[in-house]
Symmetry: C2
Subunit: 187 residues, 2 copies
DNA sequence: GTCTATAATAGGATAGAC
DNA sequence: GTCTATCCTATTATAGAC
């Protein structure tokens, strides 16, 4: 029972974008999801570009908050890395959805310019956080075999996003676990 | 100067699917690409599902052949792994396209059932080849720190596909290189 | 804020002439 | 094999009533 229609629309848009890509959902789908008419969706978001910007804005805020919480709750590099892996795993929703970055990158050609910049910003943020985690794990010896934290961060972001694809293709979260097994064994 | 219209259509469809996803291109786009009318495209491929099946069929054959060539040309596990990494790198076409598996997984919800099975088959093939490569690299000591070849294969496929996404998001192949640096340093 | 109605365009697909 | 013409549906978006 969502009270706020705008929030309900953002929820529906985010789920649809992550499940089907930016070209894979329409205003009609969102209207059906929240139980209003197509035209009413335009009242909240005049264009699909506006909707996209609002959706990604909220996503970036939520993602940053989730990462901050991980930093606050876990003290070692290894524990933080395991928590980040779990965060990505949860985002799969049983293999039904990808993280928004992954989903929208496939639709890159249809995205507003602003969205492409937002995706780059998300990735830059995650890379910085991952590099910090590897750096901490190297110092406190809670992550094994760390060579260069920046390189490890690039590899880990790619691994997590690729593991999302694997799990989405199979609609089976077990393949995500298979893909991150070696990484987890280093913590 | 392609002589065969059907081949030209498959080329256009594959490029479009890899650059924009399955929902991101239309028969009109293909018609424009090869210089015929929309209706004529339907002569070669009655439905988009037929086109998709033909496209993936050809892709699977080409990919298998490329992998066979790598096996024939390189003798050690390490050399074969480096060659597979280079194969994926080439598939990026400067950050303009993803590999077909990655691109279509984002459009999963719109795919014919047959296509989903084909994607799973591609992945299974690549996992088997990668596991063999890691197994060989472990025995001949040309890949360092190999624990379990099957787990390494899952992680590597995810890494390569994730590195594709990273490079596509940035439209910059350098980010692919960043993501695979740690893996390459093990060879 | 939500509705009906409507516009303008694009999508996949078919019929039948050449 | 390719064309024109057409169909039906979907899509983004707007105008104006309630």
């Amino acid at each position: 029972m969502t009270v706020d229609t705008r929030t309900a629309l953002l929820d529906a848009a985010e789920y649809a974008a992550r499940a089907r890509g930016f070209d894979g959902f329409s205003y009609a789908d969102l209207a059906d999801s929240v139980g209003i008419r197509k035209a009413s969706v335009h009242y909240h978001f005049a264009t699909k570009a506006d909707l996209c910007a609002a959706m990604m804005d909220r996503y970036g805020t939520d993602l940053g908050a989730a990462c901050d919480q991980i930093t606050a709750r876990h003290q070692t590099g290894g524990a933080r890395l395991l928590a980040l892996i779990a965060l990505y795993r949860d985002a799969l929703q049983g293999g039904k959805t990808l993280c928004l970055c992954v989903a929208l990158t496939g639709s890159r050609a249809s995205l507003p310019d602003a969205a492409i910049e937002q995706i780059k910003a998300f990735r830059a943020m995650m890379l910085a956080r991952l590099a910090a985690v590897f750096s901490a794990g190297q110092k406190d010896s809670t992550i094994k075999y760390v060579s260069d934290p920046a390189s490890e961060a690039c590899a880990t972001l790619a691994l997590l996003e690729g593991a999302h694809l694997t799990a989405r293709a199979a609609e089976n979260v077990g393949t995500f676990d298979d893909a991150v097994r070696v990484l987890k064994s280093r913590c």
